[in-house]
């Protein structure tokens, strides 16, 4: 595949770029979202835009399509400098965007969706026959064999996605931006999408492809632009780049320097013996995680590593029952158990701290104390309110133990810093005395001091016999804490090993998929 797609890249290297962005900066109040970023898009090429979450990919796209206005830099479209004031204007200039969540109307027909707002008219009325004919011919050009008169909602998501692309093509797009088009598609559907993308590319359309799936990027793209923290890392020709190089560019460290990072943690004794506390077999859910086997032993810290979108969060949600699994078994303490709702998981002494602290954890208008006892109160049921004395005792105990500031239990949660909010959330679950604690990105966005305290806390809990599943984007942190390491990629568990002498570089290689062959 890579060889195939490399050919057009060579052929069109000298072609006039469709879009040339250079030195583009965008800032929001207090944040520099993009700093002097460039992007060159040539006709007949699929250009992958890569970067971790927050790298500035969507900001760059929105700057191009006129959703955000740029502070500095130039955008040259078709040889002329342009500034767009909104999506409608950029669309008129031949730039079409298909968003991750399909923005079409399922209650209308395929043809209506493709031509909405641009319906062919004769004598002031919509010419339905002509509309269906035109839609049909565009669909045929893309090789999509569906009836234009059928309802959009009657087709699977993948086809709806193709219709969205067909709509963009009918606009005579010279540049097609696909923002994570494959995130809700399964493997067969991705194949279809790629066929359409290749057809369009061969017709000379420039395509921007945003995806978290490395394999897909390497299969379809001719070139890649990598962003990190709002800055341009570089542009690469896909055929000359290895996955390892790409991962390094995205994460931003050279292998050599990574190898020098000293692992400061003392090795925990691995207690992977006896009956596991939790054992899952073939656990999966369509569109989130494919069949995962995992054993969690008492007092063990399992570190989960992987890029964003690798399925690490989805795995945590399955283990907690926040998403119900399609298939697979869960055994808790050697007994088969179904976890279909978080409530069942809580009853089984499982606790889950979500990565979305703000939307899935913090209740800003309640006090520290109220936030803390929430989970315990919920598990007791509303008919048995927690006695005021017990509540006070527990709350002061945990404010002390976790060094939460301010120490006033009646302070409102929304006034706390991120690190302290995170500690309160941890306390919320610790109060329920869980046996398995699932932590998804517990240290994201909090200051270094609080981070160290939370890491210490996890280590202490494991000493006391609590099992922990620890998910973090920071590999050093995962390696420092975990007894065993699970590596996720493309929604699969691709590796599991005990954490003896594993370095950050090793993990990167696993993620990049270069160890799988010789391991």
């Amino acid at each position: 595949m890579t060889q195939m797609s490399a050919a057009p890249a060579q052929a069109t290297r000298t072609a006039e770029p469709v879009v040339e962005m250079s030195g583009v900066s965008v800032s929001f109040p207090g944040v520099k979202a993009l700093q002097s970023v460039g992007l060159t898009l040539r006709p007949g090429e699929v250009h992958a835009l890569m970067g971790e979450n927050g790298a500035g990919k969507s900001t760059l796209i929105k700057a191009l399509t006129g959703v955000y206005s740029i502070d500095e830099g130039t955008i040259i479209v078709g040889g002329e400098p342009r500034t767009f004031s909104g999506p409608a204007e950029s669309q008129a200039a031949g730039i079409s965007t298909v968003y991750q969540e399909i923005n079409l109307c399922t209650n209308l027909t395929v043809a209506e969706n493709m031509l909405l707002g641009r319906e062919p008219r004769s004598f002031g009325r919509i010419d339905t026959r002509e509309m269906n004919r035109r839609a049909g011919s565009v669909l045929a050009r893309l090789g999509v064999d569906i009836e234009p008169r059928s309802l959009l909602g009657s087709h699977p998501i993948a086809i709806q996605q193709l219709v969205a692309i067909a709509r963009a093509v009918d606009i005579d797009a010279e540049l097609l931006i696909l923002d994570e088009p494959t995130s809700s598609l399964d493997a067969d559907e991705v194949v279809k999408l790629f066929e359409v993308m290749r057809t369009l590319r061969d017709e000379g359309v420039a395509i921007v492809f945003v995806s978290h799936f490395l394999d897909q990027v390497f299969e379809i793209s001719d070139r890649m632009t990598v962003l990190r923290n709002g800055r341009l890392v570089g542009e690469y020709v896909t055929a000359d780049t290895t996955q390892l190089q790409l991962v390094q560019a995205m994460i931003g460290r050279e292998l050599e320097t990574l190898e020098k990072i000293e692992r400061q943690a003392e090795q925990n004794t691995v207690r992977a013996t006896g009956t596991p506390l939790m054992e899952v077999l073939d656990l999966g859910r369509k569109g989130s995680v494919e069949a995962v086997d995992l054993q969690v032993f008492e007092g063990e810290v399992i570190g989960v590593a992987g890029l964003l979108g690798s399925g690490r969060t989805e795995l945590a949600r399955l283990l907690f029952g926040a998403d119900a699994a399609d298939h697979g078994d869960i055994q808790l303490r050697a007994r088969r158990t179904k976890l279909r709702t978080p409530r069942q998981a809580i009853d089984q002494k499982i606790a889950f701290s979500s990565e979305n602290r703000r939307s899935e954890g913090v209740i800003g208008d309640l006090s520290i104390a109220d936030n803390m006892v929430l989970a315990l109160q919920a598990s007791r049921g509303w008919l048995r309110p927690l006695p005021a004395k017990t509540k006070e005792r527990l709350v002061t105990q945990y404010i002390d133990a976790l060094d939460i500031r301010p120490t006033d239990p009646h302070a409102l949660m929304r006034n706390l810093s991120g690190g302290n909010q995170q500690k309160v959330l941890l306390a919320r679950w610790l109060i329920t005395e869980p046996e398995l604690l699932i932590l998804d990105e517990p240290t994201r966005g909090i200051d270094i001091g609080a981070k160290a305290q939370i890491q210490q806390l996890v280590a202490d809990l494991a000493q006391q016999g609590v099992s922990v599943v620890f998910i973090s984007a920071e590999l050093e942190e995962v390696l420092r804490l975990s007894d065993r390491l699970v590596v996720m990629r493309d929604r699969r568990k691709i590796d599991e090993r005990s954490n003896d002498d594993v370095s950050v570089a090793d993990v990167l290689e696993i993620i990049a998929g270069e160890v799988r062959d010789d391991a």
């Binding site: 923005n103 209650n107 209308l108 319906e119 050009r141 090789g143 064999d145 569906i146």
Partner: protein, 338 residues
């Protein structure tokens, strides 16, 4: 077309070509169901009561409900965008009051008609603007409009005002002969013209398609670059216009203006639209269905007047049951496999 494009298969292609290529659009199913219900009820009436099947009985359904058809047509536009208009009944009452009082004051009939239609449309425009630009739920805004319009009626007069204008009375008394010695009123013709124009506008104009798109997904319509603001405000103007037109027809029917006219009529209109197969969440439904919905409501009333022993409250009970059944059927229709 020398390049053979890759053909995407297995999209229900196991079905025979003819079946896959054409089926009646599913959007007609609810209307077909409503029509079947209407025919069924009418058939039951024919079997049960002598004279029920007379063509004049059917024509009377139109004669007695012309204003409700116009009202339901306007309501359909609003509900198709996912909104609701609770003000229509009060606007009908206000229209009869404005008509009766201005005529009593000696205004010529055409001027009165223009004043009434303008009042309804402007009220609709104001509500539409508030709903769209202040992002307030249509329920609340039109509820306010409902109280406002009803209150304005009392401001004009608390008494019933008879209409004695000659143009109005002659129009009200006028009948149009149809073959077979039966008759309809001019109001019926007006309601049917409104129905046809509405159906044309919804299906043959970009405005109409945008109404459906907004009802399907407002966010998507916005991102597709459609004129969402104009459409959303527009449907309330249409509903306001239809309410005032229905008010004029109602004043012809009653030949009076009264503050207590058309109390609760907005709910009849909503019921007709829902029984006619329009989804309350928007995006799906036909004005033809709403007209059929009105006829179903009319048939229930005909039933009760033919029977003579049934309390008129049976109308409400039957409407209640039908509404519930239809909404449940819709729910089953629209529920997607998870």
């Amino acid at each position: 077309m020398s390049v053979q494009a890759p053909v995407i298969k297995d999209l229900g292609s196991s079905l025979p070509e003819s079946v896959r290529r054409y089926t009646p659009p599913p959007r007609f199913y609810p209307v077909i169901a409503t029509f079947a219900l209407f025919v069924g009820m009418f058939g039951a009436g024919t079997i049960r009561y002598e004279g029920f099947s007379s063509p004049q009985v059917i024509l009377n359904l139109f004669v007695d409900n012309a204003f409700l058809i116009v009202l339901a047509v306007g309501m359909t536009f609003v509900i198709l965008t996912g909104g609701i208009d609770l003000s229509v009944g009060s606007v009908v009452a206000l229209s009869t009051m404005i008509a009766a009082s201005t005529l009593r004051a000696g205004w010529p009939a055409p001027l009165t008609i223009i004043a009434v239609l303008l009042t309804g449309s402007v009220l609709g425009l104001l509500m539409g603007l508030v709903i769209h630009y202040f992002e307030i739920q249509p329920f609340i805004v039109t509820l306010a409009g409902m109280f406002l319009a009803r209150g304005l009626c009392y401001l004009i007069s608390v008494e019933s005002i008879p209409i004695k204008n000659e143009t109005f009375t002659s129009f009200a008394m006028g009948t149009i002969e149809v073959p077979g010695g039966h008759f309809i009123t001019p109001a019926v013709v007006i309601s049917l013209v409104v129905l046809v124009i509405a159906a044309w506008a919804l299906h043959m104009t970009r405005f109409g398609r945008t109404v459906y798109a907004v009802g399907g997904s407002e966010q998507s319509a916005l991102l597709m670059g459609l004129a969402v603001a104009r459409t959303k405000v527009g449907v309330y103007v249409i509903s306001g216009f239809c309410s005032s037109l229905a008010g004029l027809l109602f004043s012809l029917y009653m030949l009076s203006g009264y503050s207590l006219h058309a109390v609760g009529m907005e709910l009849d209109a909503i019921a007709a639209v829902v029984i006619g197969g329009t989804l309350l969440t928007g995006g799906s439904g036909l004005v033809l269905g709403s007209a059929l919905g009105v006829l179903v409501l009319g048939t229930i009333q005909t039933f009760i007047s033919f029977d003579g022993n049934l309390s008129s409250w049976w109308t409400k009970i039957t409407i209640g049951v039908l509404l519930l059944v239809f909404v449940m059927i819709q729910r089953i229709f629209t529920r997607r496999p998870a």
